[in-house]
Homo-oligomer: 201 residues x 2
DNA sequence: TTTATTTTTGATCGATCAATCAGTTTTATG
DNA sequence: CATAAAACTGATTGATCGATCAAAAATAAA
């Protein structure tokens, strides 16, 4: 019975994380305070300190939560495909769709990545190994396998193409909100078309 | 003689802006305070408030300064070329070189872009018209002219290719510091090669 | 019910911040 | 030199922050 004892904690933690995401999206990291998060979650600052060791710990947990959401969304779509080319296309499509549709999550993630620093004062976005970058590793592996299996051109540098795809996916969060100007579907079509030119014979 | 009267102001403003760039690069926007900037500039907080109307005004002026630096660097290299294709290549090369070599400036610029908000609470990085985006306008024009003059493929969407190039250029600031792993020159070669595949017959 | 543990509150503390301002020094002009 | 404008200082103020903690409430176990 040890497991079911006092299991409110997990739910409360997630509730606080959701409030943090909302506040971050609305007013940005700089203006986000524990009291504002507590307000949004209808609770007190003391409770946040009870469930997290501090503001930084809350932000780190929020980042992990957001990274997991995006990763799950993309990986699930990639695993539905069997061929490497199809997996690559699924990665691009899902990546763009996530960034273009879940803008709140992406905004909050960027707020954290660009502002939270590790004990050595190095921000996430300049660390060598970023938690968010498991996706980059997956993408690079896909490209590498494609080259090895002769499915893709062999003069292609998987590291560089990975960066170019990640850049194109990242920027899809800056697509105009008005879908009639430049829809994310059109953007996806064009990006995949261009990526095919990079990798195909 | 009116012009040479009390011209210390401009020099002092630039000195403060330089100090702001250094502090932003070292400790990030969140920890940057007027007193730390004043310290770095060997002056007082009062002087900053004397030359700028407030912290926000200082950050906006610092952003304009950094944008101008990058713009001048790239545009100068583009204007040395005559053909559209050469201009496009020069844009990519200069863009990557600037981001990869002037990392401090780029870091400070990102710190501001991701944290300063206009009176409506909208951060720079989500505004429709960004001061930094004159470069995107220039790039898109280049691509559009290339299509019109039949130099580039006509199934190419200048808006999308602009975003892909901007993404690849932006990410070059994340290139490993160790040049032997993945040098910015190799990155430039690969990116230009891939862009040529996107635009050429 | 009694007891022990977890969960929650809200007031409080020390630190830090941006901005202000009265007063001082420097500079240019006549 | 005298005067006025510009440049500059640093202490102060009021606000906000993250964190703490004593006390209370809720929950589970015995």
């Amino acid at each position: 019975m040890k497991n079911k004892q006092y299991m409110i904690a997990d739910a409360r933690r997630e509730q606080i994380i959701h409030a943090a995401i909302e506040v971050l999206t609305e007013i940005g990291y700089f203006s986000t305070s524990l009291s504002k998060i507590a307000n949004k979650a209808n609770t007190s600052t003391g409770l946040i300190s009870y469930h997290f060791s501090g503001k930084e710990d809350l932000m780190n947990n929020t980042l992990l939560y957001l990274v997991e959401l995006e990763k799950d969304f993309i990986i699930e779509r990639v695993e539905q495909k069997s061929s490497i080319l199809e997996k690559l296309m699924a990665f691009i499509e899902a990546g763009i769709e996530y960034r273009a549709t879940k803008r709140g999550n992406t905004t909050a993630l960027l707020e954290i990545v660009f502002n939270v620093r590790n004990p050595d004062n190095v921000p996430y976005f300049r660390q060598e190994l970023r938690p968010e970058d498991e996706l980059s590793v997956l993408l690079e592996e896909l490209l590498r396998k494609g080259v090895e299996s002769k499915a893709f051109k062999d003069d292609l540098d998987p590291r560089v193409v990975t960066m170019m795809i990640r850049g194109a996916v990242s920027l899809s969060m800056s697509l105009p909100l008005d879908e009639s100007v430049l829809s994310f579907k059109h953007y996806t079509e064009q990006v995949t078309k261009n990526v095919l030119k990079m990798i195909h014979h």
